[in-house]
């Protein structure tokens, strides 16, 4: 499976944009059999736990399956979840206080400073291709990191 060929804003393109896209598309097709494929993992290839089919710890990476927007730390913590019901998933999504951090600048995540609150659990049943998003903000008492689940609003600590 190769990375997709994308033409953005295609509805507002012009002759020039079309020509550029055509050149780029020809190049992609020319290299179709030599370009590196996306790094997807075989179900039974040893990277997923059986039978949960969750990625094993330590195998996360940029641009590999399952795609995530998390840091590896958060990804690991996601594996600690206990709740499996839909209701519990919702609760998890709405959890507000998840991590505390010290010292990371607003907008940045300092992985080493992320501490897990043991009482908080992540659901194993969250789809792996949709991931908790990490938000960070600075405040007077130190910086914090909140989580945001796609489409369900911001969950920051207060």
């Amino acid at each position: 499976m190769l990375p997709p060929f994308l033409v953005h804003s295609a509805d507002r393109t012009n002759e020039e944009g079309f020509a550029e896209a055509a050149v780029a598309y020809r190049a992609r097709l020319h290299n179709f059999f030599t370009d590196a494929p996306l790094v997807y993992r075989a179900q039974n290839g040893g990277d997923y736990e059986i039978p949960s089919l969750h990625l094993k710890d330590g195998l996360e990476g940029e641009g590999v399956t399952p795609p995530t927007t998390c840091t590896s730390s958060v990804n690991r913590l996601r594996g600690l979840g206990q709740f499996r019901t839909a209701r519990a998933r919702k609760i998890n999504m709405l959890v507000k206080k998840v991590f505390t951090t010290n010292g990371s600048a607003p907008g940045q995540i300092d992985e080493a400073s992320i501490k897990m609150r043991p009482a908080v659990s992540f659901s194993r049943t969250l789809p792996t291709h949709r991931c908790w998003r990490i938000l960070s903000r600075g405040n007077a008492s130190g910086n914090w990191v909140g989580l945001h689940y796609k489409g369900l609003g911001i969950c920051g600590n207060h």
Partner: protein, 41 residues
């Protein structure tokens, strides 16, 4: 599909910046994941 190659050719209505992490439409990898990984891989 084992051993075969596939590539989606996709046009979008939004700018590239709208298909990135934290952008309104979500990362393009996520949008295409059900096809790329679910159907074609």
């Amino acid at each position: 599909m084992l051993g075969k190659r596939a590539m989606l050719s996709v046009t979008t209505g939004g700018w590239a910046e709208q298909y990135m992490d934290r952008a309104i439409n979500g990362p393009i990898e996520h949008l295409l994941f059900p096809i790329n990984h679910g159907a074609l891989f």
